[in-house]
Symmetry: none
Subunit: 190 residues, 4 copies
């Protein structure tokens, strides 16, 4: 009995990310993915139940990987300001080194593919950082708002601004992201 080739899902994932960035979320098809990966369309269905299942699992996997990298070099007992800046740096670093993955996430996130259920599952990855933010609020360093909202004020602007800087005729060329991080901090600090 032949065993599942664990390099195949990896190759499929890479193809998906590549194709979505080249031709767009709306234009990927199973046959394009199969051909680009060098597989038969039928083989995709050994690893995934359906196209939706494939895209959802790919989304979950990439998103989890991104969340994890955002927590690098962060010690929950550090000063909240250090945590916030490190978080911002990590996010930027991930987007810079995994631009295609990130842009895949952005396309998928705005589609009906990503369900509330998936988001809730992913939310668990943020629990540590949410706890740190809550402590920051209690110790008076951060505004007395929902920690999720404060966190959103770090992630969202940086992500959207990053996307803008990636465009060929960007309206925000040569931005110094340290300034952006500072603005995030100003938004959430007490």
């Amino acid at each position: 009995m032949r065993l599942k080739d664990e390099r195949k899902p990896e190759a499929i994932t890479k193809t998906i990310i590549k194709l979505i960035n080249n031709i767009g979320f709306a234009n990927i098809s199973m046959s394009k993915i199969a051909k680009e990966t060098g597989l038969s369309p039928a083989t995709l269905y050994i690893y995934y139940e359906s196209k939706d299942d494939m895209l959802r699992k790919t989304y979950m996997s990439i998103k989890r990987q991104m969340s994890q990298e955002c927590l690098s070099n962060i010690n929950i007992s550090d000063d909240i300001k250090d945590i916030v800046f490190q978080l911002c740096r990590n996010l930027l670093a991930y987007m810079e080194t995994h631009a295609d993955e990130f842009l895949f996430l952005e396309q998928a996130a705005n589609s009906p593919l990503v369900t509330d259920d998936m988001i809730q599952q992913l939310e668990e990855n943020n629990q540590d950082i949410i706890r740190a933010f809550r402590k920051g609020i209690e110790t008076g360093y951060l505004k007395n708002e929902s920690p999720t909202l404060l966190l959103a004020f770090c992630y969202y602007p940086i992500q959207q601004i990053f996307k803008e800087t990636r465009k060929e005729k960007s309206m925000l060329p040569g931005i110094d992201f340290n300034k952006v991080f500072q603005m995030c901090w100003d938004a959430i600090k007490a």
Copy 2:
């Protein structure tokens, strides 16, 4: 020979927005749009060159309308702080009254459909507000950063947070957007 019926493009636009929110950007088709609007597929090609052309023109039209509504009740000579808060209120008001239109924009914006060229064209709608921000910088009320960046810090967080609040199992339920506006202001003020 009848003249082009200008109510048809309007009806088509409405259908597109409705369908995209119901079945997603990736699943709309010319025949679905035609059937839902009560037209023949062939008729769509009288008003638009192709599917892409149709979606692009629709995007441009909606985006322009949104930009315009964001400038309501704003007087360039007002205090920059008043301008910023009014801008934020206008944006929120538009998203709340035109949720489908806004969510269409978000789906389209992340797709390869929207070209740099289109973005540059749309950028012109912001010139007045950019000028006001520049004055705010010069008079020392705002941080000395690119006005576009400052503006981004108003739009992006509010838009993304709004999307989050729309979800059924939102992680940010019952948010007071006035607090959000204040955070935007804190981020960009000098």
Copy 3:
């Protein structure tokens, strides 16, 4: 606006009957039907909602035609014996001149495609003959059984025996169908 070509459904029907007799009910496909008829697969969907719809409508149409031809030269006021023998002759004549159509019906009738609802609709075509049989019962010429059962004893044996005679290595070669008709009559007569 182009008009529907009424020769197309006829051509499609002919292809279906031909193909089903050549390759069997289980092996026909939309693309085979399309190619054999000289059409695009998509065109089939202008005339029929789905494959099932196509096969069902074809079945109904052929079955109705057969029922009609079975009533040729039958006068309801004739002697019931004459009616029965004419019915038998008509059935045989139809099967002989429309062998492919008849064999299509037999394949379809044993598939789950043909619903009770369809059968009920078709049953209406037999009302006149059923009435004649009822009169035959009342006047004592026929057995006092359900007219439908008596009718079945005419149709079924002849149909099944006809199918047997059609086989290359038939076990019933050179049958005289007049004898078969007589046996049918013996079965149902009082």
Copy 4:
């Protein structure tokens, strides 16, 4: 190296009969049969050369079993009338206790799957009964027709009428099959 497990073909046969009655002859597939039986698709090919081979062998097996059961409690030296009525009762009994098997046979019999060669092989199962019928002709109890034809007049009407009574909205509800047997006898008796 294990030996072929003879319970597997039995299990496969049961699955085939079940599936064909549930989803129809045209919709069964090797993988569905494998999954439903709890086997790998590849395993089916240990027991059968191909899908067609599998269906043919299954048809032959079931058909033989049915023929055998039709001969229960029949003594060739009995009166031909007793033989005929017992044959009819046996046929009905088989169809009632093995409805799925019988309906499988009917679906298969009308498909091109069943070849003349197979029919000839199966015909041997009827030799005893054919001989009895021939004696019935010689002794003047039966019509002077081909014994096969006389036999057909027993089998066919009962089978077709049985199928009709099985339908949900049957046109022949609550039939007394003893009357049907009598009609068969009337058809073939001298």
